[in-house]
């Protein structure tokens, strides 16, 4: 094989490998980062370290809660309060109710989503059951807590924020038994 072929072959193979690595290792984190920065997709951030925020009492925002089950998830799952009025900067606690209606021990994972998209970055959760998974034994029930703060910088156009949780059954993918997690 001529050397000119060989170096071209090496370059093109390197390009192909680079594109593969780009797709698998770079695109997903970039996508996550992009969604986090822009709030597209309603992603919320992880745990928020509370700082002292001035409460903006001049403004009230309605926060609505939606709970849904992913397909084949049999649990009962609903918010105990469907809507609350909060001032931006004020810390508020709400509870969700979950009951494992089956005769099996199960582990669930709740995935949050915020609408409108431009509010997602301003919805801070200081405590949330969604930060860990939620194991429940057969027939058990629990109240799941959430503490949140709306950032005072929340865009003025936003008067209603909807937080939805979708509950997924992750028993199969979990490597530990329910009793251990509990």
């Amino acid at each position: 094989m001529e050397t000119s072929h060989r170096s071209l072959l090496a370059k093109l193979l390197a390009l192909a490998v680079a594109m593969f690595l780009f797709a698998v290792f770079l695109l997903p984190p970039l996508y996550d980062l992009f969604c986090e920065i822009t709030g597209i997709g309603g992603r919320t951030d992880g745990k928020y370290e509370a700082v002292v925020l001035t409460v903006d009492t001049s403004r009230q925002v309605e926060v609505q809660f939606v709970a849904a089950n992913n397909a084949e998830m049999p649990w009962e799952f609903y918010p105990l309060e469907y809507r609350v009025m909060v001032h931006p900067g004020e810390s508020r606690a709400v509870n969700f109710f979950a009951r494992n209606t089956t005769s099996e021990d199960m582990i669930a994972q709740a995935i949050p989503n915020v609408l409108p998209n431009n509010a997602a970055a301003y919805f801070h959760k200081t405590a949330c059951f969604c930060f860990a998974n939620q194991p429940l034994g057969a027939g058990e029930q629990a109240e799941l807590g959430l503490v949140f703060i709306l950032d005072p910088d929340l865009p003025k156009s936003v008067n209603t924020v909807t937080l939805s949780y979708t509950l997924f059954d992750i028993t199969d993918r979990s490597t530990v038994a329910v009793s251990q997690v509990q």
Partner: protein, 524 residues
């Protein structure tokens, strides 16, 4: 013959070894072309099953689950098994002869890149006979349909895609190396025939995006078998990410399919117009800009995922911008024909039909690019009609034109012109009867990929099915004509088979000898 190829007269072992171990670009081109034709017939028979089921409302012939497998396999087999290998076959046959090279740059890799393809498709098609059935999630295999809800055979599908991807990457590297390193003295880049140019650009697209497809299916494999959550919301992943990655591959992929087709008609139209191609350099730049833009418009396939308005506007305008270089090409072909002394042999008929029908498909593409309107058109038969106008009337028509145009050079015999023209008209009319009504169905709201439909869609579906059977019949005539040409065709002995044909491939004897340009020609 010292270096001649083994024929059947040498015994079947030698004959089979010749094809198995061949490193000759013409042999490999032939293998690719026959393989792609076999896949075309297979994918076509899936289409016939689909159209037979949709002939009437209600379920008559097959179960809905099998219908889903048929739509998926039809798409996969046609895109990856028929169209892409057909153009790689043409590239193998023609590029060395067009640039005055004795063979491809990497002949042994060439052999490998062909011979892994039948295995890829054997694996893919075998899933149809396995428990759980073949892939049933559409050729775009969106997660979670292809992960959480997929049949177990999806792993075979993934390995099949990996193998065909490897084949495409090797084929493309070979084409790039051939074009960049093996041009005859004097054959500068801007003297290369358009077919060579379009393939050079296509090959770069392939090397860039086939690994992305491989990445997408690898992530699927991990999600399904190794507990990762790239596309699974339960584990913090996002199914929409799959769509972004898929279309980051998928949009360049549609140009990978169509650019060599542009190249083919850019060779044929000047020949039968007896004029050089109008605007050669603008053709080159238009091809390059289409290739570049293919990377920045992918999300126009996903207008309904809930994108912010800025994203919709960007992808809408960027998509519309592609109409500009494409328009340059269409006008160049028309201007090439303008005031030419036209004759209408079969390749020319297919090429003119290509220009007309591809333009039509381009216009429906412009309609689809309007984000606000796309929300209604999305996943309807309007989309099906649109991409069949560009894929079938685009890629398949130009592939057919290419076979008729170069067949006399390949085998030294002339095809039956009357039969070719009859085939053209059956194909042209059948194609339009099949897909024109699908625009109406889609605008009326018929969703794609369903085994059944509402009664209001019955009439046009019946018309569409009749057209599909017509179009299918034309392919049988095509196969017959090609086989008959090889066995009984009238011999051609002059090097330039066609009166107005230009290019190095027409300077070698007819039929093209097994080895050509062992001494490079001097290009003025």
């Amino acid at each position: 013959m010292a270096h001649g190829p083994a024929t059947l007269a040498d015994g079947w072992v030698k004959y089979a070894s010749r094809w198995l171990f061949t490193t000759n670009h013409k042999d490999i081109g032939t293998l690719y072309l026959w393989f792609s034709f076999a896949m075309f017939i297979l994918g076509g028979s899936f289409a016939m099953i689909i159209r037979a089921e949709l002939f009437q409302p209600g379920m008559q012939l097959i179960k809905p689950e099998f219908f889903n497998q048929m739509t998926t396999m039809h798409g996969l087999v046609m895109v990856f098994g028929a169209i892409m290998p057909a153009f790689v076959g043409l590239a193998n046959w023609l590029i060395p002869m067009m640039i005055g090279a004795p063979d491809m740059a990497l002949p042994r890799m060439n052999n490998l890149s062909f011979w892994i393809l039948p295995f890829a498709f054997a694996i893919l098609v075998a899933t149809l006979f396995m428990e759980g059935g073949g892939p049933n999630f559409g050729w775009t295999f969106y997660a979670p349909l292809s992960t959480t809800y997929a049949p177990d055979t999806v792993n075979y599908f993934i390995f099949g895609v990996h193998i065909m991807g490897a084949s495409s990457i090797m084929g493309s590297i070979n084409i790039i190396a051939t074009i960049m390193n093996m041009r005859a003295p004097g054959m500068t880049y801007m003297k290369m025939p358009m077919f060579v140019w379009t393939w050079l650009i296509t090959a770069f697209l392939l090397v860039a995006v086939m690994p992305v497809l491989a990445g997408a299916v690898t992530m699927m494999l991990m999600d399904i078998n190794f507990g990762t959550s790239f596309f699974d919301a339960a584990g913090g992943g996002d199914p929409v990410l799959f769509q972004h990655i898929f279309w980051f591959f998928g949009h360049p992929e549609v140009y990978i399919i169509i650019l060599p087709a542009f190249g083919v008609v850019s060779q044929i139209i000047p020949t039968f117009s007896r004029k050089p191609l109008f605007g050669y350099s603008s053709m080159v730049y238009a091809t390059a800009s289409i290739a570049f833009m293919s990377f920045i418009v992918w999300a126009h396939h996903m207008f309904t995922v809930g994108m912010p308005i800025a994203g919709e506007l960007y992808f809408m305008y960027a998509t519309m911008l592609i109409a500009v270089p494409t328009g340059v090409k269409v006008f160049n072909w028309i201007t090439t024909m303008y005031k030419g002394s036209l004759t209408f042999e079969t390749p020319m008929l297919f090429s003119i039909a290509f220009v007309i029908l591809f333009t039509f498909g381009g216009f429906t593409g412009l309609m689809l690019s309007i984000a606000a309107a796309d929300i209604q058109y999305h996943d309807t038969y309007f989309v099906v009609a649109h991409f069949h106008y560009v894929m079938v009337a685009g890629a398949v028509f130009s592939g057919t034109a290419a076979v008729y145009y170069w067949l006399p050079k390949w085998c030294g015999k002339m095809y039956n012109e009357t039969m070719g023209k009859v085939q053209f008209w059956i194909a042209f009319i059948g194609f339009n009867i099949t897909f024109m009504p699908q625009h109406f169905l889609g605008l009326a709201g018929m969703p794609r990929r369903y085994a059944d439909y509402g009664l209001q869609f019955a009439d046009w579906n019946m018309v569409s099915s009749i057209g599909a059977f017509m179009y299918g019949a034309a392919q049988i005539l095509f196969l017959f004509n090609v086989v008959r040409t090889i066995t009984h065709g009238k011999p051609v002995d002059k090097p330039e088979v066609w009166e107005g044909a230009e290019g190095l491939e027409w300077t070698v004897p007819t039929p093209a000898p097994y080895h050509t340009f062992e001494k490079p020609p001097q290009v003025k």
